[in-house]
Structures are given as structure tokens and as C-alpha cells.
Amino acid sequence: MRKLPCVLVIEDERLLQDVYKLVLLANGYEVHTASNGEEGLMAIKKAQPEVVLLDIFMPVMDGKEFLKNIDTADYPDTTFIVFSNLSDRATETEMRGLGADKFVLKSSMDPQGLVQMVQAALSEKQ
């Protein structure tokens, strides 16, 4: 039986975490959530997600540290989308250097845009 596509949302802002989860679940995804990088490190091992939505500013361990602590090559089937409200080019360059596949401005996406973005990531991997 084919497993549902799995998305890991690493987001400290509870309001946003909830809405992403709601929308993605409604669109047929298995959703795991983590509230900071450290939780994210544990969750990614357990869930082996197809897509990771990664915030940058988070307490305990931020998005940069998260990427530094994993080897994205260990997750060849996972698309890492940095999904943050930081939009400067220096940050984008740095995150891409750490293994991020995409860099998307959170405020530019409404729920439909989010679903389309995750779908696009999945179809690109296939």
C-alpha cells in the first residue's frame, strides 16, 4: 500500500504551524510538526519526510543550525524548503549553501500557494 506523502513542518509560530498542518492534512498529506531545529532533528529521522518546510528564526535551535546539523545528502528523497519571512539575499545564499533546495518567502503564500508549492516539490523529486 502506498504511503501518503509526508511533510515535516519545522515552525515555532504556533498559529502558522497549525494552519499549515490543517491545510496540508486537508490536501492528503501526512504531516509532522516540530517547534524548533532540535525537535526537527528528531522528527526528520522518525518521519523520513518527502518535504521539509523549515523556518529560520526559532528558539533553541534555528533553521541554520538545523541544516548544519544534518547532512542533506543523507536525505536524497527529501526536498528542503526554507520557508521564512527573511528575504535578504545573503541569507538565501547561506541557506542554499547549507543544503536548502528552495527559499520561499512565507508571507507570499496563501494556503493554496502552499499546497501548490509542496506538490511541485514532490513532482520535481519524482
Partner: protein
């Protein structure tokens, strides 16, 4: 009537006459009529001979001679005729005594080139003669006289002597010349023929060439290192033209040791042609003087002089030399710069230096030379130094540090060297340096502040975006009916709330973009691409908006496949911005024309609308920050007043330009010009 005398004595020329008329009776010979036949015969022989002959008759040697002999006898003739030989030639009496004795004993005597000193003309005369003496035999067979043939050879001897002397002198001259040649301090060589074969070279010349064997060889064979130095060519020229060649301090390179080490020497030299009997050039004397030491030492002196001049010309310190009359007789350029006087100015004025550069007190009152302590000190003290205020040519004062050193020659003070430094410059320099340090510090502070500002803006926009993002998500969630169906009215209100939130996000974005572009760290990532793609990207972005306003875009690409070097994202946003403005400030249903064309240096992208246009007075301000222009659509249009400011900055960062042509009521045209890639 002929006498006996006439008969027995031949004519015999002058002497014949003299003998016939001579009073022989008073001599031991007695009257001619009494002469024995042997005497008469002998006299006749003598008189008839054309060679100088004399006859010495009897034991007294009474002299009878012919015309030729009379010439030989000089002033002694005619007294000599009939006189006794020893008395007639007293200076050679001994010689003749011997002759008489020997010949009268029946023998002959013969002398060749006999040297005698005669007083023929009352002065001693060295003469040479060939002398032949033979006895005259009388009828009884006894010698009674001496017959002498006297041939003077003086002229021949003297000629011979002169010739010998000349030869000896010639030889001496030659030997002198040879030793001159050999001992000369110059290098001398003689080359013969068109190939310049060495015939002679003096030791100096040979030594210079490491004593290699050169005689008999051509110059080209003997000294191959001359190749390329013009030596062969000069010799050829002298041989061809016969004109001597003179060289002065000519550098010559040659192998001095024979080991292949090339040495450069300097020579003064002459190539002097030599001529054969037909006056044709047959060789060349080369005469060279090694002046290497002189040239090198002079060069050293020149170098030192140049160095000294370079130092005095380039030092920032003013140098003046003051003579014992306080007149300046040297200034370097720094001194001219500091004092404002050229050396020509100073030389033209016959006054102590004080009167030119120190003639006013700092309060402006005159400063007489007699009161000046520096003036008095400089020629009296070995050294002086201090700080003061001097006066420039234009009358302005300058603070100066001076020091002087007295010049003493042979115990006499001949002048002073004065060094001056304009402290204005130094003070300026110090101030300048302080200012620079201050500016650098300020800059560093500003850079830190700027960085802090950038970080603040970045964080602030992040923080502002986050709640707006949540609003956007939740409103959308309801609008998209995740929470159940909603009415059209509800949807419309939610849409209004959504739009307002979007506007807030847009303001945050514009603020952030403006802050970023104002930051010094803003970096573009440029690549080559066709400009049409940028226009197409903007049209895509604006598609839904244009559709709502029922506006159309006419895109004419007249630039072909030309390329520009741009940051694709930023430049796409530029055209999106321009297209958005064109749409916003035009009425629904109007047409917007985008035209892409090129000129020699630029690619131009024109975005032209048929909208409300811009008032002339406003056009200047549209690229400034937070500019909003009032027009009939202003109320319906939302904006932050940052769009065109940002557009212009981005275009400038691409070494491009933007201009606007607008007429109120007719529309606006924005033209972006980008350099060709």
C-alpha cells in the same frame, strides 16, 4: 819676333803667358833661355794639361803650374808662381817636405782624398784632394823635380759626408720614431690593404688585446669581437675615401684577456690613411688613446652631480646657499616653492636675503636687517637653527623651521647653507592625517551602524511579516472554505480584509527592498541574457491585474538577439514595476505599449501608456523616495512611494539610465537604457 822662350813654351793659356813673362832669372831656375830641355818639356806638359798640375822644380821645389791649378790655388795665385813650395803653402809645409824628399829620391807618391787645411783665401779651409806625385828625371837620369797632379775632391767628400750625415740622421729619426711608436702610451697599429691586414702594432696595442697574434691577419680575423661595433665599417670608409676618422670617447668592447671576457673601454682615436707612391690609399694608421679611466671617473663625477641635483631638486626641504655678502646664490625647487621667489627673482635683487624673505615682523611692521639675529648669526656661527615666521614673495607669512651651517674654506667664511622647512605644510599634513584617522573611524562607525541598521530592518520586516502572514493564512483558510461554505457577501468582506493585509505586506516588502538597496553591501548577480525575457517576465507577473482592468500590452521587439548583462530577478521586478505603474495610472481597457530597440551603446526598453500622465512640476520628483503624485487616479491607486526610487537605483547599478517623457492627459513613457553585454 819670336824669342827662344816663345819657342820652347807652349801657349799654355793664362799661365803660359805668366810663365813666359816671369822674371825667372831672379830664381834658382834662372832665365828660361837657360832652362834644360827636361824643364821645358815638363813645363809644356803641365801647361797643356786640363787637370790641375803643378811642378816643383829643384830641391827648393819652385812652383810652376797651369790654369786649372791656379783655380785650385785661389787667392794664393798668382804669387804662388815661382815661389818655393814650402813657403808658398806654409800651412802644409810638413806634408810637402815629405813629398819633396820622397819623390826627389825617385819614388812616386799617391794620396786619395787626402785631407788638408789650406788658407787659400786667407781663411782655414778643409779640403780633400787626390794627389799624385811623380819625379821628373833630367837628361842625366837624376830626379830634379816633382810633377804633381792635384784633383780636389772636397765637393765630392762633402757631398758624401752630407749624404752619410743625412743617412745617419734618417736612421736616428727612424729609430726615434720606432721607439716613440713602441714606447708610446697610445695604441698604434698599421694595417695595410683593403682587408686591413695588421703590419705593425705597438706593445700597448697588443697588450690591450691580450697579446694575441694579430700581425699578418686582417682586423676581422684578428679581432672578431669588433663585429657590430662599427670598427670594420669605419676602417673600410677611411680606406675608400682617404678621409681620416676621428673618434672621441668611443666605447669599444673587446676581449682583453683572451679568455672571452668582454671588456668595455673608452678610446679617443684616429684612423689616418697612408698613401703609396701613386698617392693611393694603401693602409691606415690606427692611433688610439685609452681614456677609459678618465671617462669612467668623469661619469662617476657626473653621476654624483646628477644624484646631488636629484636630491636637491626633489627634497621637500628648501636649500639656499648664501654668500659672504648675504646674497643668495643657490636655491633648490623646494626653496623656490616655500619662499615664493624663483632663483631668477632673487638673483635680480641686490639685497641681503633677509630683505627678501624676512623683511616684516609678524605684526606687519618693517624688520630692518640690522635688527635680525639670524642675519648676524649665520656668517658668524658654525650652526644656527630655530623656528620663525618668514615672508613669502606675495607678502604672506609662513611658519618656518630653519637651520644653517657655515661654509668655511681655507679658514675663511665663504658663506652659509640654509635649510628651510615650511611648517604650514607639516601642520597641514598632521591635520590632514588626523582628519583622515577621524574620517576612517567615522566610516567604521557608520559601517557598523549601517550593518546594525540592515540587521534591524531585516529583523523588523521579519517580525512585521509574521503576524501579517498568519492573518493572510487564516483569512484565506476561511475564504477557501476550509471551514465550511461562506456567502458571497462574506467572501467580499474577507477579500477586503485580505487586500488590506496584502497592502501591508507590500509596504513591508518595499521598505525592505529600499533599505537593502541603500545598503552598501547590496550585490547584484548579473548574467548575460536577452532583454525580451525580462519584459515577458513582467507581462506574466502582471497578467491577472491586466486582465481585471481589461488592459492590453503591445510588445514590439526591435532589438533582435541583442543581450544585456543583468540581475534577472531585480531587472524583471523593474519592468513589473513600470508595467504596474502604467496599468495603475491608465483607465481600464487602455493599451500599454512596450518597445525594445537598440542604439550603438544601449538597449532601450520603453513602457508607454495612454494614461493620466504626469504634471511637469512633478516629473523631477518621481524618482525620489516616498513621492506620491496627485492626479485624477491617485485616490484609487495604492502605493508606497518607493517603487520608482528603487527602479532607478537598480537601473543605475546596471550602469544604465531611466528617463520619463510625459504629458498630462495623454500618458507617460518610461525608457530604461541598459548597456549592451
Amino acid at each position: 819676333m819670336a824669342t827662344q822662350t816663345d819657342k820652347i813654351i807652349v801657349d799654355g793659356g793664362k799661365l803660359g803667358g805668366l810663365i813666359r813673362s816671369f822674371d825667372w832669372a831672379s830664381t834658382s831656375l834662372g832665365a828660361i833661355s837657360s832652362w834644360p830641355q827636361s824643364l821645358v818639356t815638363s813645363v809644356n806638359i803641365v801647361l797643356e794639361s786640363s787637370v790641375p798640375m803643378v811642378m816643383l822644380w829643384g830641391k827648393d821645389g819652385v812652383m810652376l803650374y797651369n790654369d786649372a791649378y791656379s783655380k785650385f790655388a785661389g787667392a794664393r795665385h798668382p804669387k804662388l808662381l815661382g815661389s818655393k813650395v814650402l813657403k808658398g803653402w806654409p800651412e802644409v809645409a810638413d806634408f810637402n817636405r815629405n813629398v819633396m824628399k820622397v819623390v826627389l829620391s825617385g819614388k812616386t807618391l799617391s794620396y786619395k782624398d787626402q785631407e788638408l787645411t789650406l788658407y787659400r783665401n786667407n781663411i782655414p779651409e778643409q779640403v780633400w784632394m787626390n794627389l799624385n806625385y811623380s819625379p821628373i828625371i833630367d837628361e842625366s837620369g837624376k830626379p830634379v823635380g816633382v810633377l804633381a797632379i792635384v784633383v780636389e775632391t772636397t765637393q765630392r767628400i762633402i757631398a758624401q759626408r752630407n749624404k752619410r750625415t743625412a743617412e745617419r740622421e734618417l736612421k736616428n729619426e727612424r729609430s726615434r720614431l720606432h721607439s716613440l711608436l713602441m714606447d708610446a702610451p697610445a695604441c698604434i697599429a698599421l694595417v695595410r690593404g683593403p682587408e686591413h691586414v695588421f703590419e705593425l702594432a705597438n706593445p700597448r696595442y697588443l697588450e690591450l688585446l691580450g697579446n694575441r697574434a694579430i700581425i699578418g691577419k686582417t682586423v676581422r680575423e684578428a679581432i672578431p669581437e669588433f663585429e657590430g661595433q662599427g670598427v670594420y665599417e669605419n676602417l673600410d670608409e677611411v680606406y675608400k675615401t682617404g678621409k681620416p676618422f676621428y673618434g672621441n670617447e668611443v666605447p669599444v668592447q673587446f676581449d682583453r684577456t683572451g679568455k672571452g671576457d668582454i671588456y668595455t673601454g673608452y678610446f679617443n682615436f684616429v684612423y689616418q690613411p697612408t698613401y703609396d707612391a701613386d698617392k693611393k690609399v694603401d693602409g691606415i694608421y690606427a692611433y688610439g688613446l685609452d681614456v677609459t679611466e678618465q671617462v669612467e671617473s668623469r661619469k662617476k663625477v657626473e653621476e654624483i652631480a646628477i644624484l646631488n641635483k636629484t636630491i636637491t631638486d626633489n627634497t621637500a626641504t628648501g636649500l639656499l646657499i648664501i654668500d659672504k655678502n648675504h646674497r643668495c646664490n643657490f636655491m633648490n625647487p623646494a626653496a623656490e616653492r616655500i619662499t615664493g621667489y624663483s632663483f631668477a627673482d632673487i638673483s635680480a635683487i641686490d639685497a641681503p636675503l633677509h630683505d627678501l624673505i624676512h623683511n616684516k615682523k609678524p605684526d606687519g611692521s618693517p624688520f630692518p636687517v640690522s635688527d635680525c639675529p639670524i642675519h648676524h648669526a649665520i656668517l658668524q656661527q658654525d650652526q644656527t637653527s630655530g623656528e620663525d615666521r618668514f615672508v613669502r614673495k606675495d607678502g604672506t607669512f609662513y611658519p618656518v623651521a630653519y637651520s644653517t651651517r657655515r661654509i668655511v674654506q681655507d679658514g675663511m667664511t665663504v658663506g652659509t647653507v640654509m635649510e628651510i622647512r615650511d611648517l604650514t605644510e607639516e601642520k597641514h599634513a598632521i591635520e590632514e592625517q588626523r582628519r583622515l584617522i577621524k574620517l576612517t573611524n567615522q566610516r567604521n562607525e557608520l559601517l557598523l551602524l549601517n550593518k546594525a541598521k540592515d540587521e534591524f530592518i531585516s529583523l523588523a520586516s521579519h517580525q512585521l511579516r509574521t503576524p501579517a502572514t498568519a492573518v493572510k493564512q487564516y483569512i484565506s483558510l476561511v475564504m477557501n472554505e476550509y471551514m465550511g461554505p461562506i456567502s458571497d457577501d462574506q467572501l467580499q468582506y474577507l477579500q477586503t480584509a485580505y487586500n488590506s493585509n496584502e497592502r501591508q505586506l507590500r509596504i513591508i516588502n518595499d521598505l525592505l527592498k529600499t533599505a537593502q538597496i541603500d545598503s552598501s553591501r547590496y550585490v547584484l548577480s548579473k548574467k548575460k541574457m536577452g532583454p525580451a525575457k525580462l519584459v515577458e517576465c513582467a507581462i506574466d507577473d502582471m497578467e491577472s491585474v491586466l486582465e481585471i482592468k481589461k488592459q492590453t500590452v503591445q510588445f514590439d521587439n526591435e532589438a533582435g538577439d541583442t543581450q544585456v548583462k543583468v540581475d534577472e530577478n531585480e531587472m524583471c521586478l523593474v519592468f513589473t514595476n513600470l508595467l504596474e505603474n502604467a496599468s495603475k495610472y491608465s483607465y481600464p481597457g487602455s493599451e500599454i505599449r512596450i518597445r525594445l530597440y537598440k542604439t550603438a551603446k544601449y538597449v532601450h526598453i520603453s513602457v508607454k501608456d495612454k494614461g493620466v500622465g504626469i504634471e511637469k512640476k512633478s516629473i523631477k520628483r518621481i524618482f525620489e523616495k516616498f513621492t506620491r503624485i496627485d492626479n485624477e487616479l491617485s485616490d484609487t491607486v495604492t502605493g508606497t512611494g518607493l517603487g520608482l526610487y528603487w527602479v532607478k537605483r537598480i537601473v543605475k547599478l546596471h550602469e544604465g539610465a531611466i528617463e520619463v517623457i510625459s504629458e498630462p492627459g495623454k500618458g507617460s513613457e518610461f525608457i530604461v537604457s541598459l548597456p549592451h553585454a
